[in-house]
Amino acid sequence: MRSQTLRKIRLASQVIFFGLFIFLLIKTEFHGSLRSATTEIRLPYPVGIFLEADPLIAFCNALSTHALYHGLIWCLLILVPTLFLGRFFCGWICPLGSMNHFFSNFKSERKQGLQRIELNRYKKWQTLKYYILVALLVAAAFGGMVVGVMDPISLAVRSLGLSFLPGINYGLNAFLDGLYNSKLGVLRITSMVLQFVLQALILSFKQPYFRQAFFLGLLFIAIMVLNLRITRFWCRALCPLGALLGFTSRWAIFGMEKHTEKCHDCNRCALHCQGGDDPVPGAPWRKSECHLCFNCVGDCPEDGIKFKFFPGARDTVDRPQLQRRRVFAGVAAGVGLLPLLRSTSGFAVESDPRLIRPPGALAEREFLARCIRCGECMKVCPNNALQPTFLEAGLEGIWTPVLVPRIGYCEPTCVLCSQVCPTGAIWEITPTEKIGSSQGDQNKKKPVKLGTAFYDRGRCLPWAMATECIVCEEWCPTSPKAIYLHPAEMADGQGIVKTVRQPSVDPERCTGCGACEHACPVKDHPAVYITSIGESRSETNQILLRQGGRGKG
């Protein structure tokens, strides 16, 4: 009986942690308070806790920055118990693992029972993840956080937060609209009730849109579909966090003891095995592969498998069995990766002028040494302004955040992205630091500058079409305004001379927030646009002698 209880507790743990993960992901959104004006605009929940507790992210952050950013210390919550227990995180907590677990169940036991048992036996290809881990750690040590692409928590936050949740939001809204527009009164009322309920639970205030959402979603679906062939293929063969915890579990004092004297070789213990760690008789138990799911304990009809502290070491392989050559290959891949990625013209030589980083983002090299592409900053941005890059920051910088003012501008006093960033790629700043101190202040601090606005005079209404406009000046949030107007006489199409106010930019005052670009009525290809030049995070990407680079060359 006890054996079944353990399994139920594990299932409950998976459900609870997955629920918590989704809850926090949904709450990674600004809601505001209509009850109190002075409530600080911060998120009330520790939405990044799963990322911060992720030992792989912490390891790589430490390797690339020689320090540990703020909340990453929470990784000890997972790391220390793993030292004692083994890979309990994979079987009990990991949200991606739980989803893999769930989708692994869609295989017929009656038709494919024997095949399943065979597939659940330990395979040599399971060591692939260790070599991947080695490569990622080495790359991190050289200052490249490509680990974010494969880290399971980062992957789950990115895929679900930027692709699935927005998709669900779209679908639900379309459904509610359909109900609301129906001619039946009952359906109309149902839609209003549902709207109210769903708004409280899951619906976003505004429909979020993300570039590459389809692609990100498809990758995620592919990972899930793999489970229909091989149980937890991702966890067994690819997951670098699983590999790290596999290494760590080597010293665990908790483990399996097989009582083979009771065994009738039914092999049921392997039928639901998650890790592919060989609980079967006649083969050693692979400690580094075991997720501690306890399915084998429950499935054994003879009660012949026991998990206990200080188990007998017989029939156990306590560490991953790696080939030295392949480890070297992993190291070589890690060493070679960054030089290869950076020998094309990237951030060092020429950068995409539209690569506008969020406020608080560190200089590009430091930024790439931290950003894990989890997408939390994009999810939380109230204006949907932050989007995942494709190649704007080079292949190395794929899925890192870029501000797209056409979609949304950067709200002057909002610092939510810097609050949620788990690794300090967007270093935490306060609203006061962001807007700088006001004019009269003695020790005047400059505002955080994301870039500079430029006019395309061929498209600007007062410059090109003798038409009054000034919307960009109206929206400009700096004081005095960075956009100033100058009256000019222009002849219109009928030859009538009119006076219109033509806008220009003062590059010293402009913070590059993008409000002008966002508000420009020339919607498709705006007449005023931001490029990254003058961004405060860079010493080299500057135009003005006085302001740029603090006087450096």
């Binding site: 600004f30 809601h31 505001g32 308070s33 209509l34 009850r35 109190s36 004006a37 409530t39 605009i41 809204n173 509610l176 609209d177 609301y180 709207q195 205030f205 505004k206 429909q207 109230p382 204006n383 709200e411 002057p412 006093t413 909002c414 807007i435 006001s438 004019q439 009269g440 209404l461 038409t467 009054e468 406009c469 000034i470 919307v471 000046e473 109206e474 929206w475 400009c476 949030p477 700096t478 004081s479 005095p480 305004k481 107007l485 106010r501 508000a519 420009c520 009525p521 919607k523």
Partner: protein
């Protein structure tokens, strides 16, 4: 299997029976008939998609004129709440405007992500006091709403208006996407535009702007505040701002207009940001003639001659009010 000795039953066991053939023909024939019918039916339904039909309506929020009371009052004092009370008393009391069971919409300026001290949005205390007065006069519901420029939730929170007004019992309506209706404004330059529903579903309408500088019209006062009923790409309105303002003022003839001039954004409007741009005027202007109110405020705070403001002239020509103000 041995060949059948009985040719009548079935000479070749592998071939279909007549019954089989018949039923198969009926099936495939029926299906193809249904397919053809469906195709023809769908073809008959083909129409060029029509655009969303706009509602045509003319809201009426006006109360009858009363010669015992002035059309406009200007009050000054320390407390924004007391200013609202004082102004309403001079205009004949709130019951002159708000009746029992009325659904009242108050339209402050909640356009920007700014705090009350920065004076880019209407004074929250003044708005709250107006909510209280309306409910006291027996209004069934008081809604406070605006279509913000910046992120609406931030604007509603940081302006202090949402919390102050809801504390007095107002319903705060955020400008959510599904709350817009396509309305034909039938103006000179404004045709079909998305309008936030509460603005066309009310008994009484109180326009409650704040006085600010604006580079295009010189000032943004009462009539400019009606920009905030619209969704869509309203940044195009600036191209014919005076005509747009007149169109909007013609469409939305409010029960009452109150211009908050407690703090006035004298420069760098309408967004401001620096406290140095704000001047403390401790004034409130209220009345039933929106043209006179705007004319007075332009003259009083920026010394702009009302005759130079084209939109005021257009509004006057349409009979929306008189530029000449009388403060006797």
């Amino acid at each position: 299997m041995a060949p059948s000795t009985n040719p009548i039953v079935n000479p070749e066991p592998d071939s279909a029976s007549r019954r089989d053939i018949l039923s198969k023909i009926i099936r495939v024939g029926g299906l193809s008939a249904a397919t053809v019918a469906a195709g023809l039916w769908l073809r008959g339904r083909s129409r060029r998609p029509e655009e969303e039909v706009a509602i045509t309506l003319k809201p009426n929020f006006l109360v009858s004129a009363d010669s015992r009371y002035p059309q406009m009052v200007v009050v000054q004092g320390e407390d924004p709440r007391a200013l609202v009370r004082k102004a309403l008393e001079s205009l004949g009391g709130v019951r002159r405007f708000i009746g029992r069971g009325d659904v009242v919409v108050i339209k402050p300026n909640i356009a920007w992500d700014r705090t009350p001290e920065q004076a880019a949005n209407t004074n929250p205390l003044a708005v709250a006091e107006m909510v209280r007065l309306c409910l006291e006069a027996g209004a069934k519901k008081v809604r406070v709403t605006d279509v913000s420029c910046n992120e609406p939730r931030r604007c509603f929170q940081r302006s202090g208006i949402a919390s102050a007004a809801s504390a007095e019992g107002a319903e705060i309506v955020l400008p959510e996407e599904h709350l817009f209706r396509q309305v034909n404004l039938r103006g000179d330059v404004l045709g079909e535009w998305p309008v936030l529903e509460p603005f066309i579903a009310a008994d009484k309408m109180i326009n409650f702007p704040i006085a600010k500088a604006h580079s295009l019209t010189g000032v943004t006062l009462g009539m400019k505040n009606w920009y905030g009923i619209l969704g869509g790409q309203r940044n195009r309105l600036h191209q014919h701002i005076h005509e747009s303002l007149a169109d909007l003022a013609d469409f939305m003839r409010p029960t009452l207009t109150i211009i908050d001039a407690y703090r006035v954004l004298i420069r760098n409007g309408p967004v401001g940001g620096d406290l140095g741009d704000v001047e403390l005027k401790k004034t409130l202007i209220a009345g039933t003639d929106p043209v006179a109110l705007d004319a007075y405020a332009a003259k009083a705070f920026w010394n702009i001659a009302p005759e130079t403001l084209l939109y005021l002239k257009l509004a006057q020509d349409r009979g929306l009010g008189k530029m000449a103000f009388d403060l006797s």
